[in-house]
């Protein structure tokens, strides 16, 4: 696909749903609804809020209930969307979410939105906070419908799903066959990109290293810096904790059940009845978060190396630095 045809291609994507793309808002970027490709800042580094927001709403209604009839009516409603310009790390993060939300007990709400969404990936260049190369999430093998690799005056497009194949064949006028010169150019661009990564994190055996560092002083040191605000959870593409509340109507008999994203850095997270808190201080909460991110889900770590928690931490706690300290490298 040539660079010129991007505008027309994006316009055509409307057939597949509302288009969301990275738009510059203030100092950061955010996935917003767009009508044409010019509105997008496709050379963005990372959005503040990851694309999980399309699948796990900050707040959503699960069902309404009526005590008198003992009835629970689920509320499912959502339209089709196209998420354009999603980076490899965020694609991996969604793959991780899929492992949790689409296991043998699939989450209906998540599943519905996931099926309604078309993901179009877009190549990126790392900045000083990206460590996706260390996490092995810098190149998306699957998990997208289409993936656009930006070359000099064209895009190399990879198809990642049947849906992607359908879109490509329905828009075949935009696509040309790949020639050997394109492959050469793609290879060079990828090779150059691999060398652009400056931030490295040794992840071999990190899970065990974290378990062995349970009593480490590092946790106390960083917990003293931590505000316990939960920003890292909000911006993390793999953080998925949620809370559930019932909102009762004035008749005290009917109401709705809502769920909203929660944060393990907040005090309430480890609280059980009788006031017992399993993670009473920031030390335990910080250690818990790093243990969670460093634990393995099948073959993947719960962290994709997007760097958001470091960038958006108001107390400037550097995720990679903490793990290096835990390992004793610093």
């Amino acid at each position: 696909m040539t660079s010129e045809s991007l505008d027309a291609f994006v316009n055509n994507l409307e057939t597949y749903g509302k288009i969301y793309g990275p738009v510059k808002t203030g100092e950061s970027c955010s996935f917003q609804e767009i009508s044409q490709s010019k509105e997008m800042a496709l050379n963005y580094s990372r959005t503040m809020i990851p694309p999980k927001k399309f699948f796990l709403k900050l707040k959503e209604r699960m069902f309404i209930f009526d005590e008198r009839e003992c009835e629970y009516e689920e509320t499912l409603e959502d339209g089709k969307i196209v998420v354009f310009g999603i980076h490899p790390c965020d694609i991996y993060a969604l793959k991780l979410m899929d492992k949790i939300y689409l296991d043998k007990n699939p989450d209906k709400y998540y599943q519905m939105r996931r099926e309604n969404a078309t993901l179009i990936g877009y190549s990126c260049h790392p900045d000083e906070y990206c460590f996706c190369q260390s996490q092995g999430t810098n190149y998306a093998v699957d998990g997208f419908d289409l993936f656009l690799h930006e070359l000099k005056d064209k895009f190399l497009v990879r198809i990642g799903s049947e849906k992607g194949n359908k879109i490509a064949s329905e828009n075949s006028k935009f696509f040309m066959d790949v020639e050997s010169s394109d492959i050469q150019e793609f290879r060079e661009a990828e090779g150059k990109r691999e060398k652009e990564f400056t931030l490295k994190l040794a992840i071999n055996g990190l899970t065990d290293m974290l378990a062995l560092s349970y009593e480490s002083d590092v946790w106390k040191e960083y917990a003293d810096k931590c505000f316990g605000c939960g920003s890292c959870n909000l911006v993390c593409p793999t953080c998925r904790c949620y809370d559930v509340v019932d909102n009762v109507n004035m008749d005290l008999k009917s109401g709705e059940r809502q769920r909203m994203l929660n944060s393990c850095m907040l005090k309430k997270h480890g609280l059980v009845y009788g006031g017992k808190n399993f993670r009473p201080t920031r030390v335990e909460r910080l250690r818990n978060r790093f243990n969670c991110k460093g634990s393995l889900r099948e073959d993947m770590m719960n962290c994709v190396g997007c760097g958001r928690c470091t960038v958006y931490c108001p107390s400037k706690i550097d995720y990679v630095e903490v793990l290096r300290r835990v390992r004793g490298e610093l």
């Binding site: 209930f65 949790i100 559930v244 509340v245 818990n288």
Partner: protein
């Protein structure tokens, strides 16, 4: 309704009876309306009180009756307090059964020790009932039950019945002068149980107690993989999504537990 498809939707149940166990603890019996919950000992359910909220409780009845569930609830938080006001006929919602049960078939032919402290016995009751009902499958079965005050003891009538089939040791840590039975903590009385290297233990109590019992049993020669603990955490989804019940090592109490082998988890994780 598409309950089969949406695991978040509770299914209807009615309260059929309420039994006072102690000053702040009641056992509620529920009849499931047009559905059954074929559960195994050790599993739990999410009890929803419309307009109040939802909380997880281990099933405290026999797995031979999947049409009725019993939950023993101590008044502590919001849902548990509201549940004290339930009366026969009241409607509630139930999701479950959830979680991994005790692997009872692995207990067969072995000595079984059940250690419960306080209301922790509610989480072990379904297991005790299974052991009592299938007594012939197991060698020596012992229930070591500890509480603080005499009035904290629950399941009094049932324990009397169980003691005809299994050995029961009850100890109180804050006994009143008129208490004729044993005094002290459960760990003080582990010596009274004959333990051998193949003994299987199931433990539930407060986190600190579970940690010390697990340590003590390991010291006495039990294998870590033969010690089972039933953990409790705050839960929202019950099916491994919301991560409220995360413990050390990325394990989720709702999905990977609530019953864990002591070898599976970091013993420190019991308390954290």
């Amino acid at each position: 309704m598409s309950n089969e498809l949406n695991p978040y939707l509770p299914r209807p149940a009615n309260v059929t009876s309420v039994k006072n166990e102690s000053l702040d603890t009641k056992t509620l019996r529920f009849r499931l309306i047009n559905w059954t919950a074929p559960f195994q000992a050790g599993q739990f359910v999410q009890l929803l009180l419309p307009g109040v909220g939802e909380a997880p409780f281990c099933i405290a009845s026999s797995q031979s009756d999947p049409k009725h569930l019993e939950l023993t609830i101590m008044r502590r938080g919001i849902v548990t307090t509201a549940s004290q006001y339930l009366r026969p006929g009241d409607a509630v919602g139930i999701r479950g059964p959830l979680g991994k049960p005790f692997p009872v078939s692995a207990f067969e032919g072995k000595d079984v020790l059940v250690v419960a402290t306080g209301i922790g016995i509610a989480a072990l009751k379904s297991l005790i009932l299974y052991l009592v009902e299938n007594r012939g499958k197991f060698k020596d079965v012992t229930l070591l039950y500890g509480a603080r005050f005499p009035e904290d003891l629950v399941y009094r009538d049932e324990i009397r019945r169980w003691s005809e089939k299994i050995k029961v040791i009850i100890t109180l840590s804050k006994a009143t002068p008129d208490w004729a039975g044993l005094r002290g903590r459960v760990t003080d009385h582990l010596n009274e149980v004959e333990l051998n290297p193949s003994t299987v233990a199931a433990v539930c109590g407060s986190p600190a107690v579970m940690t010390s019992i697990a340590d003590e049993l390991v010291n006495k020669g039990l294998k870590k993989e033969n010690i089972y603990v039933s953990l409790e955490r705050h839960m929202k989804c019950g099916i491994g999504k919301c991560a409220r019940c995360l413990i050390m090592g990325g394990l989720l109490v709702c999905k990977d537990g609530p019953v864990f082998r002591a070898s599976e988890i970091d013993i420190r994780a019991i308390g954290e």
